[in-house]
């Protein structure tokens, strides 16, 4: 059996383990370890006496991965982003944001829903996780929308969709993970998420305004705030602005002078500001301790998937499966753009059943090199490329596309985690209700993705400046 065939069998085995319910990190790690044993043993012609040797080499090779791969400075962004999210609750930032958005945007048709979308976008600037964002706003925004006479399903849909913005607008844990797997510049990717994130928010907002004009179930505008009240609502939300400015300043100084540091430092300084704000709002050791424990738990969950999957990826390296897949994809007799669209559709299907981080980690090691090869290679110039962009830019563009796909999957049935979360928060809403309410956004997302594919400049303009 060739090593590529071994690669395919083991990959199939891993998918089976995941589907029957083995925890993703361990399914990937176990499949990778078994694959390594198989590969090394095959090198010795399956000699029974050499099995012990193959086992030892495989186990020691896999044993390098957990420490070797997590001891990476860029990965420190993940726990700091998670910590920022937890600290933000104590700082009272979520309520402050919603209040400010309501006073400034409430006058629009469907004003409360529009406010919800932009408040989630604002919260996204301190939160790296979509599901947490949806959970928080389900508590704050849905009651207000119901009071104003919104259809409950629609109100739930707004929150579920708004939550997805957290993973595009920096900080974003999932973009960091993408950058690590594909070994690209973290700062560029975070920067690239900004405009598509805001763009998605604007598409959601326009959709709501349109629906509000057409249908009664979208509630009436909320008027009557004075300019004084509007400005009064801003200071409590200030740390968000500070964090946004700092993260931008650390990646690309808008004032044209020296940047203040690396993205990893920027994330950490952002966390420090929110921490100070939370202390000023009464956070003490017991609250901090539980925030730290929660951060530790969520971080270790993500990192376990990372090293588990990277054991599997190490095996793929020995099996040379990514090379073979890439050769196959580039050898297809059809336009590269069509192939890319098929890849994105495959993500839509996969994402129905899988968690976003797990999905990216499992697929990118094979899919990413293929997409880069499709464009013409890692260092291709824009003129000679298939998609009209240089190799590094293609890495950024594809990253934003797959993250947007992963976010899309958070609101699609049957496993749309954001919808589950919203339904879980509200006793009066079933999961089916939320899925029905989120359907218009589902279409909005499809439109957004099509636009990002058709007009890569939306994604690439900002990072090309830096």
């Amino acid at each position: 059996m060739t090593s590529v065939e071994i690669g395919l069998w083991v990959s199939g085995f891993m998918v089976l383990l995941v589907v029957i319910g083995m925890r993703v990190a361990f399914a990937a790690g176990l499949a990778g370890l078994i694959g390594l044993i198989w590969i090394f043993w095959s090198k010795r012609g399956y000699d029974p006496e050499m099995f012990g040797w193959a086992l030892g080499v495989a186990v020691k090779t896999a044993g390098q991965v957990p420490h070797g791969k997590v001891a990476n400075q860029a990965l420190s962004l993940i726990p700091t982003f998670i910590l920022i999210g937890y600290l933000a609750y104590y700082a009272g930032l979520t309520k402050a944001l919603f209040e400010a958005a309501k006073r400034w945007l409430g006058w629009l048709p469907g004003g409360l829903a529009v406010s919800t979308v932009f408040a989630t976008a604002g919260f996204a600037a301190v939160s790296g996780a979509s599901v947490a964002t949806a959970a928080v706003f389900a508590r704050i925004a849905i009651p207000e929308m119901l009071k104003a006479g919104y259809d409950k399903r629609f109100a739930a849909g707004v929150v579920a969709a708004g939550g997805t913005l957290a993973s595009l607008i920096p900080p974003s844990a999932i973009l960091v993970i993408y950058a690590i797997i594909v070994e690209q510049d973290v700062g560029k990717l975070l920067l690239a998420g900004f405009i598509p994130g805001l763009f998605s928010a604007v598409v959601y907002g326009s959709l709501i305004v349109g629906l509000a004009v057409l249908f009664k179930r979208v509630g009436p505008p909320v008027r009557g705030f004075t300019w004084g009240q509007r400005f009064a609502a801003l200071p409590p939300a200030l740390p968000i602005v500070a964090v946004v400015l700092i993260i931008i300043g650390f990646v690309y100084n808008p004032f044209g002078e020296d940047a203040w540091g690396t993205p990893t430092e920027g994330g950490a300084i952002g966390a420090f500001i929110v921490f100070c704000w939370a202390v000023a709002h009464g956070m003490r050791w017991p609250e901090l301790k539980s925030a730290l424990l929660e951060t530790a738990k969520l971080s270790v969950m993500i990192f376990t998937i990372i090293w588990g999957v990277l054991i599997y990826v190490r095996f793929l390296g020995f099996a040379d499966l990514p090379g073979a897949f890439s050769d196959w994809i580039t050898g297809l007799d059809q336009p590269p753009m069509l192939t890319l669209i098929f890849i994105l559709l495959a993500y839509a299907v996969l994402g129905m059943f899988m968690d976003a981080i797990g999905m990216l980690l499992l697929t990118l090691p094979v899919v990413y090199p293929a997409v880069m090869a499709l464009n013409g290679g890692d260092f291709v110039s824009a003129e000679e490329s298939a998609f009209g962009m240089s190799g590094p830019m293609c890495a950024v563009w594809f990253g934003i596309l797959v993250v947007k796909m992963a976010e899309f999957c958070l609101i699609t049935p049957p496993i749309g985690l954001n919808c589950f979360v919203v339904a879980g928060v509200r006793d009066d809403l079933s999961v089916q209700d939320v899925f029905r309410g989120v359907t218009p956004f589902f279409i909005a997302d499809a439109v957004t993705i099509a636009l990002l594919v058709a007009f890569p400049a939306i994604v690439l303009w900002l990072p090309s400046l830096a």
Partner: protein
């Protein structure tokens, strides 16, 4: 997907073991959380040092890399206790009674096999970086300021050994449930629907004053 659940407790020997180990796991997790916190403080020191005093922290990257295994690995068993490590429960979620416990036993056995082998593999990784005869016992060091790598490498088999103990307790818990036909056994995370999970998560957030 993520189905972390409360773990039932009672006065039985197994439940006592579960709680004893949980105390250790909690300490590990707290150390891990403090490591995150120190990364934050460290960045503040580094940035102010560089920008205001033109004196960056020497080996900043090396120190962060030393802290990462504490964050990424140490809490692994803490997360396993209540089932935080994610999985797809489309299939498992439909099982009930003995069929469910049998499936859980198989899953835990597979994880146990992996973790035992990885204790071996990560210990070997530690050993290659450790040498009693060398200065600071170091046979492998960081790139910039040559910090010894063995302490951070030792964290991994240590945390994985605790994970093995945790899996053994869960194996006992599920086996007991299978043999006795229990509905809600102690010392194992109980599957709840995604909606239940979400409700509890939101409850927890709300309690914190979100």
């Amino acid at each position: 997907m993520a189905n972390s659940g409360a773990v039932r407790e009672d006065g039985s020997f197994l439940s006592r073991l579960d709680r004893d180990l949980a105390r250790l796991e909690r300490v590990f997790a707290l150390v891990s959380g403090l490591a995150v916190f120190s990364i934050m403080l460290f960045a503040v020191v580094s940035v102010t040092g560089r920008n205001l005093l033109n004196r960056p922290v020497p080996g900043y990257v090396d120190w962060i890399e030393q802290l990462m295994p504490f964050i990424a690995i140490l809490g692994i068993a803490y997360a396993q206790r209540d089932g935080t490590h994610i999985r797809m429960d489309l299939v498992v979620g439909r099982l009930k009674g003995r069929a469910l416990w049998a499936a859980e036993i198989l899953g835990v056995l597979a994880m146990l096999a992996l973790m035992i082998l990885l204790v071996w593999g990560t210990w070997a990784h530690f050993q290659r970086s450790f040498d009693f005869a060398a200065p600071l016992w170091s046979r492998d060091s960081t790139i910039d300021i040559a910090l010894p790598l063995w302490p951070a490498k030792l964290i991994v088999p240590m945390a994985f050994s605790v994970m093995v103990l945790r899996l053994l307790i869960q194996l006992a818990g599920y086996s007991r449930a299978f043999i006795l036909g229990l509905a809600a056994p102690v010392a194992v995370p109980l599957i709840r629907s995604a909606a239940q999970v979400a409700a509890e998560e939101a409850e927890a957030l709300n309690a914190k004053g979100g």
